[in-house]
């Protein structure tokens, strides 16, 4: 008998449950309606997205990278391929100096290969964003981008030429009116634009950076 009354009393919990969902029904939604709205750049700033090269302070289009290959060996997934820039042909002055040195019987001072990368390829499809390369880099030339809305339609979209990406980014940052003016309305009309869906996401400047 007591159990019957307890059961009836327990049924009250069903009414309580309805009350809660009913209350939530009347509250506004909590989801972000991408692509009409995006996560704020501040919220995305701590996100560790695909790595990118960091430019020199005086020339943002040139990476700080000295092609030491530490990142390549640190990477657990072999997603970084770096080649050194080719040794430049000696200039006439240098050739002269070399010839002179040879004449003096010294070892001629050949031009050293530049401490800069020739190509810097990064396969994001293999990357686990562990940050080993960022930590390994002795000159702080690698950083995380904060692009949380990157999309691509094929695997090759995620193989980035980081040098070109850096150059593009530097060009976009320059206060030259042309690209800036182009970028600004794009950002303003972001909701209307068919979501980033760029065929080459590497080229897309993330909203947080724009």
């Amino acid at each position: 008998m007591a159990s019957i009354f307890r059961t009836i009393a327990d049924l009250w919990s069903l009414v309580v449950g309805l009350g809660i969902t009913g209350k939530e029904f009347c509250k506004p939604g909590v989801t972000v309606h991408y692509p009409r709205a995006e996560v704020t750049p501040e919220a995305a700033a701590s996100f560790r997205g695909p790595i990118e090269l960091i430019g020199l302070d005086k020339d943002p289009a040139k990476p700080k990278c000295i092609a030491c290959m530490l990142c390549v060996s640190a990477c657990p997934s072999n997603c970084i391929t770096v080649t050194r820039a080719p040794t430049p042909k000696p200039t006439p002055e240098e050739l002269k100096a070399m010839a002179e040195a040879e004449a003096r019987g010294e070892k001629p001072k050949k031009p050293a290969p530049p401490k800069a990368p020739g190509t810097w390829a990064y396969d994001f499809s293999l990357c686990s964003l562990c940050g080993s390369c960022v930590e390994a880099c002795p000159v702080d030339s690698i950083g995380f981008s904060h692009d949380i809305y990157m999309v691509g339609t094929k695997r090759e979209d995620f193989v980035f030429d980081q040098l070109a990406r850096l150059a593009r980014k530097a060009a976009a940052r320059k206060p030259e009116p042309k690209p800036a003016a182009k970028a600004a309305p794009e950002a303003a009309t972001a909701p209307a634009a068919p979501v980033a869906a760029p065929s080459e996401p590497g080229t897309a400047t993330p909203a947080s950076e724009a």
């Binding site: 069903l14 449950g17 309805l18 809660i20 969902t21 009913g22 939530e24 029904f25 009347c26 509250k27 506004p28 939604g29 909590v30 989801t31 309606h33």
Partner: protein, 324 residues
């Protein structure tokens, strides 16, 4: 029933059937949309949002997609039973709408045994689920079908008992007469006189229509999709439509029996009827997005140990009071 069946009355019924088919089709779309919106709002998200303003055309898009899909039958399924099931699930439901009085003028077929007609044809649904589960030659489907039969058979009894209590009270099986016996004000409705019968009826209706928390034949997390595991395209679409059509029938009958049908405090008419039906439908959705699912033995326990005795008691009490 009417003794003479004239050409006029047949034409009337045929026209009514067409009207009902349109009504069910449109309502199916509307309810699917409403269900998803209700789910969305309860869960603090927008629900359908992309197709049309506020996603209003989402259900249409889904329907078109379902219609456009290839009909797939598993290799070892029984072709006859497999294809008969969705047809059998959907079309008899249309008949159920015939005797329902939306308003005094808007009644498909005002038979004086309307209630009996509805209860008789409602039995087709379970046959369809059984055929679907058995015919698709799938173990999950079979389990779902077994559950459907046990559940349907069990819940029909308290449903009948609750209906009988009202029939006793009103002394008729004609739906429009039952509405006629109630007044316009909420306290003149049968729910004020028979609250227990209303509760029994509504819970049983949830069970009969396989709605959460009694959605055991489907039971996604246990039986993947239960009886319609193997159905896709319009095969699935028919079951889907039938589910919502059954819900409308259950809520309509509930409105007629307990909530005064088309009558309201002012301006009697079909709008009162529809408002009440949609109110009940919304609460059915509300339940679905609030409660977990009961277990099968609990479902039957609830029926045999609670609803059935209560229904019998209620019926006896009604009979006793009526006798006085």
């Amino acid at each position: 029933m009417n003794a003479t069946i004239s050409f006029d009355s047949v034409l009337h019924v045929v026209l009514a059937l067409v009207g009902v088919a349109v009504f069910v089709g449109l309502n199916g779309l509307l309810l699917v949309y409403a269900e998803r919106k209700v789910a969305g709002f309860i869960q603090r998200r927008p629900g359908p949002y992309e197709v049309g303003p506020q996603g209003i055309l989402q259900a249409v898009a889904d329907a078109l997609k379902l219609i456009g899909k290839q009909l797939v039958r598993p290799d070892r399924a029984d072709p006859l039973l497999f294809w008969m099931a969705p047809v059998l699930a959907f079309f008899p439901v249309l008949l159920l709408f015939l005797p329902i009085p939306f308003s005094p003028l808007l009644t498909g077929w005002d038979v004086n045994l309307g209630l009996l007609l509805i209860l008789a044809f409602a039995g087709f649904n379970v046959l369809a689920l059984l055929l679907a589960g058995w015919g698709s030659n799938n173990k999950y489907g079979l389990l779902g079908a077994a559950r459907a039969v046990a559940q349907s058979v069990a819940y029909e009894i308290p449903l009948l008992l609750a209906v009988l209590a009202i029939a006793f009270q009103e002394g008729t099986l004609s739906l429009s007469a039952i509405v006629g016996g109630q007044g316009g004000m909420p306290w003149q409705w049968n729910i004020a006189v028979q609250p227990l019968a209303f509760l029994i009826f509504f819970v049983s209706a949830l069970g009969e229509t396989n709605r959460a928390p009694f959605d055991l034949p489907e039971a996604e997390s246990e039986l993947t999709a239960g009886f319609h595991t193997e159905y896709s395209g319009m095969g699935f679409g028919m079951f889907f439509l039938a589910e919502y059509a059954n819900m409308i029938v259950a809520c309509s009958v509930c409105t007629v029996l307990f909530l005064g049908g088309w009558k309201g405090p002012f301006l009697d008419g079909a709008w009162w009827f529809l408002a009440k039906v949609y109110g009940l439908l919304l609460s059915m959705m509300w339940f679905r997005w609030t409660y977990p699912r009961v277990r099968f033995d609990q479902l039957l326990n609830l029926n045999w140990r609670w609803l059935l005795p209560l229904g019998v008691l209620n019926l006896l009490a009604t009979a006793f009071v009526m006798k006085l």
